[in-house]
Symmetry: C3
Subunit: 140 residues, 3 copies
């Protein structure tokens, strides 16, 4: 069994910025010493999350509008009263979306659908430098 | 360590069709050469997702109604203007729910709760043929 | 490769009770015979879920209020008509949040963000005794 830890460093613009990170993940899995298994992505932060989507400008806008309807920026959050950073909405969105994604791969190739892209969503209200951990596990 | 890839092929009716796939997953894990570990399910498509629920007709209807309230079908989506397939809502729902589920198992038996079933939710607006990948990993 | 199954037993108060379970998980991973890999948490129940959040009283209240807005307790659920337990809302919330979380670790230390805590959310309408399964997998 092999375990290989990799990490992506990404700069985001904040405000529900949605980044396609599929090429970087595919590259790390391909360069690894693990031929078949699962890669677990984990974003080490409380105001961002990971999911999949067809990465197309219309849908990216739809996603951002849906998050604004589901957990609006403009209402009061207790977090903002205590901490004053104004990003309470971002914490709640991230908690609902979740910080992780596990993707199976075979022969160092991710088993994604044709139009299915992996995205990092940064809900925070300012640009951030983010780290996504990749734990690649499986057969050498 | 052992890694075994399996796949389920499923026909869905679309329109937030909710299928109980627990028996098929249990069968694949039981038939595998892996005795203890984790099975990672992944749906290779952008308009469907995977989760757990007590599979009971009342709840299935509740789930479908909740999705309609959270991300309605009847509003405008930018995706539909660009692509014209009318399934923008399905993409957004799938992205919020997530395409994967990881379930621990011991002695080839899934560690689910008594009433906890694994479901595939197909949000798309037409019948589809779907593939769910199962990556079974652990001790032989 | 090593696979070690652990379990946490927790008493919750119900009604979207949010428990910080990070210390217990960190302790189990540290005490395990696995040095680097992934721990998969799974709650074996249909009315609770697992996610991450900055565990701070303001945010905990924000989370509870967001869930009440997203999937309200006070509306009619088909499940409650059939079963009469009045926890239909809890099933729907749990299904949306998801029952699992996978966290990478290195040298028996979880790779979480500084303010990122793992929480069990019990949506049920009464106190429950809960079991969270931990499947710890990786290199010895």
């Amino acid at each position: 069994m092999a375990v290989e830890k990799r990490a992506l460093r990404l700069n985001t613009r904040g405000d529900t910025d949605i980044l396609n990170i599929t090429p970087q993940i595919a590259r790390e899995v391909e360069a690894s010493g693990v031929s078949s298994g699962v890669v677990t992505l984990f974003i080490t932060g409380s105001t961002a999350g990971i999911t999949t989507v067809e990465y197309e400008p219309g849908l990216i806008q739809d996603l951002r509008e849906a998050w604004e309807r589901l957990i609006p920026k403009g209402i009061d959050y207790h977090h903002d009263r205590h901490q004053g950073e104004g990003n309470g909405y971002a914490h709640v969105r991230a908690s609902l979306l979740g910080p992780f994604l596990s993707i199976p791969f075979i022969h160092r190739k991710l088993l994604l659908g044709t139009w299915q892209q992996v995205v990092l969503i940064d809900f925070d209200n300012r640009p951030r430098s983010r780290e996504v951990v990749l734990q690649i596990m499986g057969e050498p």
